[in-house]
């Protein structure tokens, strides 16, 4: 599926870029929200395969923003609809990015693991996605920029009855439109 392979692609980019940035950490802490741009569009320039030193054009804040925007899958605890506190900063970057790019549209896709009834899981997936939707709006995104859809347990990221598979399936994915 288009949406799924897109997310996987993004996840692997995140891993690559984390490795790069770990090698050249900066202490610059200038905050400049205006310069945060649509993260996905310029990932190609940052994920350089060569070992050449990065041009020091990006501030630490910009780097943090780009990293945050590459995180597009948010995982949930069993039977819990609230996103994890650790994800708050990442989601704030997504919200500011939407605020700075009013033409940008995203889709929040909510999912559940297979335990519990299907209809309830469909509702639970929506509740999870709505939690993130509300947070994005409070932090500057416009309602019109975000579409919410729940797939319940119908589109697991991982099959099987293990805790590992279940934890990968309880998620909300941010998908560009």
């Amino acid at each position: 599926m288009g949406t799924q392979s897109y997310s996987i692609f993004k996840a692997s980019l995140l891993v690559c870029s984390l490795a790069l940035f770990a090698a050249c950490s900066s202490t610059n802490s200038v905050e400049d929200d205006e310069q945060i741009s649509g993260g996905e569009s310029d990932t190609g320039s940052t994920a350089q395969p060569s070992g050449v030193e990065q041009t020091p054009a990006l501030t630490a804040e910009e780097i943090a923003a780009q990293e945050a925007l590459r995180t597009t899958i948010f995982y949930f605890d069993f039977d819990v609809a609230e996103f994890k506190a650790d994800d708050r900063d990442t989601l704030s970057y997504h919200a500011r990015n939407l605020a700075a790019n009013p033409d940008r549209r995203i889709r929040l896709e909510g999912h559940a693991d297979e335990r519990g009834t299907r209809e309830y899981n469909l509702a639970l997936g929506e509740r999870r996605a709505n939690g993130i939707l509300n947070y994005l709006i409070v932090n500057g995104a416009s309602r019109a920029q975000v579409e919410v859809v729940s797939y319940g347990e119908e589109r697991p990221a991982e099959s099987g009855q293990s805790e590992q598979a279940y934890s990968m399936n309880r998620r909300v994915e941010i998908v560009g439109r």
């Binding site: 069993f78 519990g116 859809v149 797939y151 319940g152 099959s159 009855q161």
Partner: protein
């Protein structure tokens, strides 16, 4: 009368594309003292090889529901085809309570066959039922199921459900992370599956109209969950809803005129009813928690649903037209109770039950809402989507076996179980048809 009915059924079935693989049945648990019945292979003449073994179809039907045990063919002492060839003493020696014999006669140069059967009480040496059924060779399976219905009703007094069908959803993972979803219809035993709808997006919640002619379901084919109805014979579809948010759980009212459903257009999932003639939409519940899984009470006046308004799923009931505050809670003694539906008696509620917070296992159970007595029917851990046979004798449900979605059936006393393993992919969400004839 009967032959015309059968001919009609087959003509309509042929309009649908056949599914690739068939389900086949497996009895996993039976009663201790099944009724012994001798089913003699039907004598056949006048048509070619490859036709259905009618006696085998009847024997499989009766053994599946657990109350009968068919005498093994190698133990038959004689092979009568009609009453004049029956010597009751033979069958009394073999300790058989009942005897079924028959003949299948073809018409040269034609697809028509005549099936004559006779059903006897061995101890009373009495003919209980017998007739001649006519149909085409391809209808021999239907005729076999029809004979099973008659035998079952003669012995138990309960109408047989062997000519009923099931709907279910099959899903297959495809290379590259996608999936294929199919809405299928099959005989009650999983044989002769037909694909009603294929999609690369999820299909959910199939539900029969009470006349057995239409199915309502949820399809994500537009990337969003929307409710559709489809005429089974013609394939003609109608999109019923296009509201923002969740559109799910369509369930026909007992008179077929209305569709209960779940919509989250006003913020959180609530129960609604849509009149299928006027398209008027009536809101039934109004609560910020999740309300879902509606089902109708047998009298069609109230709706049973699941809500997590107290924190965890429990089952509630509301009368149509009542204030959304006038809600009766039906379950208290489970950590989660969900997907409830009344048996025809209006007192016993089939549901999916998770007993405790500590143990996330989900089983099919029945609770009597007067006495609060609970019978747990299954002992696997991911059981869901219970659907009742129209004669109230068995419940089909979805569970997992060796990591795969399968359909199981259990008698409402929990004693008998059988399984319909799927050849391909996961099968889930069975919906047992009403009586179709």
């Amino acid at each position: 009368m009967k032959p015309y009915r059968l001919l009609l059924a087959i003509t309509l079935l042929a309009a649908n594309a056949p599914a690739r693989a068939e389900l086949s049945i497996q009895i996993t648990q039976g009663v201790d003292n099944p009724i012994p019945i001798a089913i003699v292979p039907f004598q056949s003449s006048g048509f070619g090889l490859g036709a259905e073994d009618v006696a085998r179809i009847v024997a499989d039907d009766l053994e599946q529901v657990g109350e009968f045990r068919a005498l093994a063919r190698e133990n038959l002492l004689s092979m009568p085809g009609e009453q004049s060839e029956v010597f009751f003493r033979d069958w009394q020696i073999l300790a058989q309570d009942y005897l079924l014999v028959g003949k299948v006669t073809g018409t040269p140069g034609s697809q028509l066959v005549q099936v004559q059967y006779e059903f006897f009480d061995v101890n009373r040496e009495l003919l209980l039922a017998g007739e001649v059924l006519t149909g085409s060779v391809s209808q021999l399976r239907d005729i076999g199921h029809e004979i099973s219905n008659i035998v079952y009703e003669q012995v138990t007094g309960i109408r047989g459900a062997f000519t009923t069908q099931i709907l279910y959803v099959a899903a297959e993972q495809t290379p590259g992370g996608g999936a294929n979803f199919r809405l299928e219809k099959a005989d009650y035993d999983g044989r002769r599956p037909q694909v009603l709808l294929r999609s690369q997006e999820p299909i959910m919640s199939p539900n029969w109209s009470p006349d057995g002619q239409n199915v309502a379901y949820v399809s994500f084919e537009t990337d969003l969950p929307r409710i559709y109805t489809q005429n089974i014979a013609t394939g003609q579809r109608r999109q019923i809803t296009n509201y923002s948010g969740i559109n799910s759980s369509p369930v026909y009212s007992p008179d077929g005129g209305m569709l209960a459903m779940v919509l989250s257009k006003d913020g959180s999932p609530d129960i609604y009813v849509q009149d299928l003639r006027s398209n008027e939409l009536i809101r039934v519940t109004d609560h910020p928690a999740i309300d879902t899984e509606p089902s109708w009470t047998p009298d069609g006046r109230s709706i049973v649903f699941m809500s997590d308004r107290t924190g965890q799923p429990q089952i509630y009931k509301i009368e149509l037209g009542a204030s959304s505050f006038d809600i009766e809670r039906l379950t208290y003694d489970c950590f989660q109770c969900a997907k409830a539906r009344f048996l025809p008696d209006g007192n016993n509620l089939v549901h999916v039950r998770r007993e405790t917070r500590q143990s996330p296992t989900y089983q099919i159970a029945i609770i009597n809402i007067e006495t609060l007595r609970v019978i747990t029917l299954t002992d696997t851990s991911l059981d869901e989507s219970p659907s009742l046979a129209p004669n109230g004798s068995m419940i089909m449900y979805a569970t997992k076996f060796q990591g795969k979605g399968v359909l199981d059936a259990v008698s409402i006393d929990g004693l008998v179980k059988f399984r319909l393993p799927s050849a391909q992919g996961d099968v889930r969400e069975p919906a047992w048809s009403p009586f179709l004839n």
